[in-house]
Amino acid sequence: MLDWMVWTVPTALVFAGLAVLLIAMTIWGRISPPVARRGFLRIETDRGDRLYIGLISAAVVLAGWIAITDLSMWLALGCALLVAVVIGIWG
């Protein structure tokens, strides 16, 4: 039934990871509701906003990396995750 979607293991893992992330954020939000505050981004964000900004920034890092340099994409992934974590905690 899902043949036409031509799934691969890596893409399936990425989407499953995103789904898990969203579910986890929902549960976390239930347990302790998010609080909006200001970090180095200078705008008021709660943890959901920071997750979104972090993920988008990580994607930008990956896209920029692949456009500019031939260095390993694993290194890019490391940098992207680091950016996402930094924004998530101090953003």
Binding site: D3, W4, V6, T11, E44, I56, V60, I66, A67
Partner: protein, 317 residues
Amino acid sequence: MTERTTVADSPAGVAEPATAPAEQAKDTRVDARPKNNRAWWLVLPVVVSVAFTAVIPLMTVVNYSVQDVFSPSERIFVGLEWFRDVARDPEVRGAFVRTLLFSAQVLLIEIPLGVAIAVAMPRRGVSVSVALVLVALPLLIPWNVVGTIWQIFARGDIGLGGWAINNVLGVNFNYTLDSTDAWLTVLAMDVWHWTPLVALLAYAGLRSIPQPYFQAAQIDGASGWATFRHIQLPRLRGVLTIAILLRFMDSFMIYTEPFVVTGGGPGNATSFLSILLSKIAVGQFDLGPAGAFSLLYFLFVQVLCYVFFTVLTRSGR
């Protein structure tokens, strides 16, 4: 789900209607907590339809972007190869710069022009309807028809505009041969087609400003410019945010009109991202590179819109 109705279950609240302000504040804080979340089920149809029309197709695009697909059973995983190819393709980079330049020019022309038209439009009387219809007219015309109109209008031999520029102004103008002429034709067409949207939004915003503001300005002896700068413009912030976002997204994704007028030419002078993308996806049927291309395109639009939106809505606070 926690189900608790507040008013009916709290006889104390009914017995003591006169609560102190501090207690009321506490009450609203308690009320703000979720009590019955069943209303969320009403969102389900939207979730299902968005999943069907957007999320599942997007997932498929992602899957295509990492493979070379011949058929569902015959496909090769290529990793990020297409992304690397697309991101380094000079043709794609050229189209990217061109599209960005086009969007910037569209915003720089259409937003001030739209606001100026809105300020100049009549406020009362029969002329309001006449002005509204005249201004809104270009918005009612389908994209491909706009393209056809301008394709003929700008021609030097049979088009009124092209003929006038060539014979009255005496400037040699031919959008099928000269890339600057082609660019200006597409830009003029977009300005003609979409400035009315900005004008109508700005007009609605201007109409919603309460009259006392203008009376106060008059009493203070404010000039027309000061009234515009300090009363009208700040009050247009909301509608202009929407106008800028809409015009950016639309102009950044422009396809039909340049496709009809110039087909991306002459050379690649007006081949914008969407025209190049459809050439790769539909013309050459290279679905892998087209998938990677669309994802990068999507990411850029997403980032820019988020930045616009954040800057425009949160900078005042």
